[in-house]
Amino acid sequence: MTLTEDDVRYVAELAHLELTGGEVKLFKLQLGAILEYMQKLNELDTANIEPMAQVLGPGAPNPSIRADRNVPCFPQEIALANAPDPGPGLFRVPSVIERE
């Protein structure tokens, strides 16, 4: 399996990245080499191995689920303070146009 430039463009689209032509070429090579290296994992038979779903180790108390209660949160002006284009109580964005 080799990575094509179309694959790179497709993945960039999924990731909301706009790549230049040069970046597409470079990533095709670099990501191709890395993905090829990752094929090494296929040397292992993992048919009967559970995917690891938690990292805490055996015997650790599971983190509890918190009660679903309202807790103090930032007031609107603080939540908006870092916004590139804040409006009155809102984040302003460019108009949404349907994808072709």
Binding site: D7, V8, V11, A12, L14, A15, H16, L17, E18, L19, E23, F27, Q30, L31, A33, I34, L35, Y37, M38, K40, L41, N42, E43, L44, T46, I49, E50, P51, M52, A53, V55, L56, G57, P58, G59, A60, P61, N62, P63, S64, I65, R66, F74, I78, A79, A81, N82, A83, P84, D85, F91, V93, P94, S95, V96, I97, R99
Partner: protein
Amino acid sequence: MRPTQVQGCSGCPASSNGNNILKESSADRRICGLRLFAHPTDKPRSHKGLGGADMASFGHVCDFRGSQTLQSARFLRHPLTRIVRPIPRHYTMDLTELNISQIRNALAAKQVSAEEICQEHLKRIGERDSEVRAYLTVTAERALAQARKVDRLVTEGRPLPALAGVPVAIKDAIVTRGVRTTCASKILENYVSPYDATAVERLESAGGVILGKTNCDEFAMGSSTENSAFFPTRNPVEPSRVPGGSSGGSAAAVAAHLATIALGSDTGGSIRQPAAYCGVAGMMGSYGRVSRYGLVAFASSLDHIGPFARSVADLACVLGVIAGRDPLDSTSVDVPVRDYGAALDGDVRGLKVGIPREYFEGLSSETGANIQKAVDLLARLGCEVHSISLPHTAFAIGCYYIIATAEASSNLARYDGVRYGFRSEDHKNGLREMYKKTRDAGFGAEVKRRIMLGTYVLSSGYYDAYYRKAQQVRSLIARDFLEAFDEVDVIVTPTSPFPAFKLGERVDDPLQMYLADIYTVNASLAGIPGISVPCGRTATKPCLPVGMQILARHFDEARLLQVAHAFEKAGGFAIA
């Protein structure tokens, strides 16, 4: 130990050279914030004593310090002491060399103020950081305010908290209220956090004095700090070399005495590897040991916050402060926090130390030689050395870079130019274009590469082949460790296959850069704690630091620290 000759103002370079400060390097310019407190043109302080409102003018040392030594300055600054005292020995001590307990003792004995310690560090940052470039932001104002708070505790005779007056550097991937947190990325260049990370809040509550925010690889993605969007940090031991990464700025700051301790983050070795490269100690607790609330997320199943220090006792002290359950991080767990300081002096005789065979393949011979000497030293201390196998080691890099990039692609989806951070103005065609242009202009090459990789391995048709497969291999790697810890108490390995490499040496080959993480990603995948301590330097010039990694069972940080401390006490840090 160098005697301190305090020339000119402590902390404000303007008075020592009489030049326009704006002509100085950017590092000096950042220090200019200090002028608020210590400008030579301000009125002289009134000598009413230490603390209270009077402390506000405590910084005007440059008015009368001139070229006097600290000894006489001390006398001048304690006008209540009317008699000439013999000069105590500690005044010849460089305040940037003190460790946590020395700072504490000196404060309690009123031999020095927290503000002086803070000023001395800020001064050193002004002098030295134009070369090292460890800091992205120096928070002189916040530091001095906090130091004065500590000094008030001293004056009022109140008990001193664990880190009273200790100068701290914080990796810029950890948020600090009211201070720019950039994650070394253009996309967060002007981001000012509305809250403090839990670890930061705990450090400050314990009296820590935050000097500033340190450089790192953008979004903690890298092993050299060359991926910073702003500038690379240099290794203080040898400036042509990288400090390691991603927490390279924090490691360099501690190594260059630009802070006593520092916080970094470790996802696949980002504390342990730079600690090794810069010749300091660095530690990652077990997954869940330290709250990540306020750590900018990279790979959530792997991210840790942890400390850097120049001694194991200091690491233990900082870990004790930042560890423990935090309701704001649902992955932090309620496992009791040990008294790590008390655990240091335990007997290591009879302790079983495992040496994994797989970690010595492909190792540079110089690093191997130092590790061998380190293992010999542990044996002389009475540890039983056992050769062990961690059979899935060779699969760790592939496994790690699938899982870490998958999680990164998902975590970094939040940077879209809507709620915070940079937004591209080039978006005639609407919202979607705005996202893409923003992310294209805001992210650096390595971040884009990892987002691409992560998106690919999670994409339809590839998920099972990559992501699910990697999670299965992760189970095998974790099982290797569980089985090994049935046989041994700790595992000792090199931290990195080679010492600090040259700037630019690996930037063009991402896979080679990834492979440098071969000895650190395993423990991250398994969730076990790890520490890197210095074990001498390479025999040939430029004699670079070598790091030894110690790994232990989940939540057995005390054991790690105990072995590391015994090794340090036996002279292991300077092994030759």
